[in-house]
């Protein structure tokens, strides 16, 4: 059975995506639902800091063209002319590949008339998977420092998460609304947007809602850090018909607990209640779109 996939995202960084994703995953797993939490913020993955996991690591690689031994036909520039990214160039002594620009599409290899191009695997990052507790697995993706292919590592992370046999998969998304966000959110069953009542929070929420609509995803909002600003994010959600499924107050105790890698559901007196209520609201939303989770 294909798991139900819920993404936790926000345009702005630091609104509380990881806080929500980690605590929700732990809470729901304890109700008996088989969960996988996948950390798709591959540039700056943080979920693993809240758990004591010994992940089983797999390398993520991409195929990059390599020039094989031999001589190119005199004056031939077919590979260079075919590449739409300028990743293979004629620099005087034959074709030279620029891996950072390469999209691994294989077009140049296919089009070469002289069989001079092969492919080699180049490492761009890794995925890891481990057990947090009974019924909760953690999958994390990590982009190698200096590499640019975040969407590739995100794809590998989602794929790995899909093989864990869970009923529900929670994706902790990276901040932003560009290609990394699309790689994380494309095709999920539900999108939870975490925001805060500040002008930055609202500005970036609007961008995320636009992306969510383009991707045709059902959405709901978690309003975090209520009390830190006076911007009427709730009013915006209402006018856009987006349900608010939780409101968490700003609380220095929350910040302190989180700062030291603690889970709110265990370390904060209201944590368990907050996430119980959030899960209840989220389940209602899921049921209303036909993705109900059995109790």
């Amino acid at each position: 059975m294909k798991p139900i996939t819920i993404a936790i995202a926000s345009g702005k960084g630091g609104t509380g995506k990881t806080l929500v994703a980690t605590n929700l995953a732990v809470f729901v797993a304890r109700t008996g639902v088989r969960m996988t939490l996948a950390d798709c913020d591959v540039e700056a993955p943080n979920d693993h800091l809240f758990f004591d996991v010994h992940p089983d690591v797999s390398v993520v690689e991409v195929p990059i063209p390599e020039v094989l031994a031999g001589t190119c036909p005199e004056g031939c520039t077919v590979c260079r002319d075919t590449c739409r990214f300028g990743a293979i160039r004629m620099l005087g002594g034959g074709p030279v590949v620029f891996p950072d620009l390469c999209h691994s599409c294989g077009a140049c290899v296919d089009v070469c008339p002289a069989g001079m191009l092969g492919e080699r695997q180049v490492r761009v990052g890794q995925t890891g998977a481990g057990v947090v507790q009974d019924g909760l697995g953690l999958v994390m993706g990590q982009l190698d420092v200096g590499q640019m292919k975040a969407p590739t590592v995100i794809g590998a992370t989602r794929e790995r998460a899909g093989t864990e046999g869970a009923d529900v998969v929670i994706l902790d998304a990276p901040p932003g609304v560009a290609c990394s966000a699309v790689a994380t959110l494309h095709g999920v069953d539900f999108l939870v947007l975490v925001t805060e009542p500040t002008s930055f929070g609202l500005h970036d929420l609007v961008l995320m809602v636009e992306l969510g609509r383009e991707l045709k995803l059902p959405m709901a909002v978690v309003l975090n850090r209520v009390g830190t600003g006076v911007v009427d994010v709730a009013g915006y959600c209402q006018s856009e018909g987006i349900p608010i499924i939780a409101r968490f107050p700003f609380d220095r105790e929350v910040a302190a607990c989180y700062a030291d890698g603690g889970l709110l559901v265990d370390g904060h007196r209201l944590g368990h209640q907050w996430f119980s209520d959030l899960w209840e609201s989220l389940r209602e939303q899921l049921a209303s779109i036909g993705s109900g989770v059995p109790a």
Binding site: R84, F85, G86, R89, M90, L91, G92, G93, F98, L101
Partner: protein
């Protein structure tokens, strides 16, 4: 491009590269390689172009604040600093 023996020179447009999606610096180096440049004199060079120069085996010399004539003269006298391309 200047031929140091004859001092004949020709100007090559780099406009096509500037409009490209990525790697405009690399495109400039490719253009120079295509025209058979054996050395390049620059005022500054970005990391992508520097990498391309290295891979094209074209040495690069720095000449900020000089006219082309002054730079070529200084180069001929061995007065320009060669850039370490790594």
């Amino acid at each position: 491009m200047i031929d140091l023996e004859t001092m004949a020179s020709v100007v090559i447009s780099n406009d096509e590269n500037r409009a490209g999606a990525e790697g405009a610096g690399i495109g400039a180096v490719e253009l120079l390689a295509h025209h058979g440049a054996q050395a390049a004199i620059v005022t500054k060079v970005g990391p992508k172009a520097a990498d391309a120069f290295r891979r094209a085996a074209i040495p690069v010399y720095m000449a900020a604040g000089l006219t082309v004539r002054e730079a070529v003269t200084a180069f001929s006298r061995g007065e320009l600093t060669r850039l370490d391309l790594g």
